[in-house]
Amino acid sequence: MITALKIKNLTKSFGSLDVIKGISLTANQGDVICIIGSSGSGKSTLLRCINLLETPDSGDVWVNEELISMTKNKAGDPCPADYKQVDRIRTKLAMVFQDFNLWTHMTVLQNVIESPIHVQKISKQNAIDRGYDLLKKVGINEKAEQYPSSLSGGQQQRVAIARALAVNPDILLFDEPTSSLDPELVGEVLRVMKSLAKEGRTMIVVTHEMGFAKEVASKVVFLHEGLIEEQGEAKEVFNSPKSERLKQFLASNLEG
């Protein structure tokens, strides 16, 4: 079995602020890795370094055992060596954002078929057929012709998940997909995510939903100040945390 995602010694700083201080992580096919940690610990940054929305300072990322090749620009800063490779790999790594980030000028269906048609050059009819299937899967097929702004947050996030699935990615990246939602809408999104996990999709999920992590994570990673403080199976991490910081974090996050 090939490794879906491998990260080695990744670092990233913003100016003098070291945000990721050397992280290595491996995800096998079908793994659901939940990344937890307090605000500012670098969870989003780690996720964004994987699909190069942020350029790592150093370290390597392999997707399906293909190394994303990096080089240095004239100023000596790291940058991708081959932007075509980056675009190609990004469709293997679809991302779901906290604020949905649906394209407001397109209808729900247009959002879902955009990248398949224009990036992957799939025929329009195929893309539309697949688009409807995916919208059905997340339970929004009746809203296909509407604009995102007329949907609730939970519906928008489910559309965003359908859009991510439309490029047929090997790995799904989620950055706090339920944090912008009203509490009563969280469940519908988590349900979709659970069904994806059951299908055997490889997922990296930054989340504050400890219940979700407990239930579906094959591995839980606790990030603290840019380093992996503790990691392991969900049961181990939640039931018998070793580090003092994780204990504190769980104490303040599980009570709610």
Binding site: N51, L53, Y83, R90, H105, Q120, V167
Partner: protein, 245 residues
């Protein structure tokens, strides 16, 4: 013929206004509409292309292009359109370089000087409108496009520009209306559009109130049409931004 009939049947004066003269002048003033619309259409079209270039220069990252585009916008937004028209009409003729060049047949004529001034003027405003539109594109929507494998021209063509243009639509509608009104200034360099004809009639009969009243109504009518067109475009392209039906 029929309008003559109507005019004669009207009272000669009403509320101190020379009604029959107004009625007689209406068809003459209407003859100015094609030129007014032509000036607006040509300068808006070329001005838009120009504005796109200026906006691209602004975001190109090149220091030189940035300074050129900033100075251009600064000058043409900061000086009155009338001054620009005069400078182009009277000023260009002072340069032997231009008088001897292939451009002279153009810039000898008030028509092309007017077009040039209007184009440069709207180009500056439109460049700012486009820049504002580009800046208003939510960063998150660009990131989600990137994360789906879009980049470069595709990213601009499918996501950034469509959103920017939609955001800029109301401001651009405003600019179109300003241009319709702006064309009245080229009457000062002998062009016979609506205001030019009005001034001509006034010089003959000395009835400024009557004639400008009619001219004003014609402008109002043209701008009413422009407003409807913009409104239609807004409903068509940004239904999600329209709250009132």
């Amino acid at each position: 013929m029929s309008i003559d009939g109507i005019c004669i049947s009207l009272p000669k004066e009403y509320l101190g206004l020379k009604v029959q003269l107004m009625c007689d002048s209406l068809p003459k003033l209407l003859l100015g509409i094609p030129l007014t619309i032509e000036l607006v259409a040509i300068s808006l079209s070329i001005g838009f292309v120009l504005a796109m270039c200026i906006a691209l220069m602004r975001i190109s990252g090149s220091r030189l292009l940035n300074i050129v585009s900033r100075s251009y916008v600064f000058y043409f937004r900061g000086t009155p359109l009338l001054v620009q028209i005069f400078l182009i009409y009277y000023g260009l003729a002072q340069f032997d370089l231009i008088k001897e060049s292939f451009l002279w047949p153009f810039f000898r004529e008030a028509y092309w000087c007017g077009i040039l001034a209007l184009t440069l003027n709207t180009g500056a405003y439109t460049a700012e409108i486009i820049r504002g539109g580009l800046q208003s594109v939510p960063h998150g929507q660009i990131e989600s496009a990137r994360s789906m494998g879009m980049s470069g021209i595709l990213l601009y063509r499918r996501v950034i520009l469509p959103i920017a243009f939609r955001q800029a639509l109301p401001a651009y509608g405003n600019e179109m209306i300003l241009m319709v009104k702006g064309t009245s200034l080229v009457s000062t360099i002998t062009l016979m559009e609506i205001t030019g004809i009005a001034r001509h009639i006034i010089a003959k009969y000395w009835t400024p109130v009557e004639i400008f009243l009619i001219a004003g109504i014609i402008y109002l009518f043209i701008n009413y049409l422009v407003t409807r067109i913009v409104r239609y475009a807004e409903n068509r392209y940004t239904p999600y931004l329209q709250t009132n039906e």
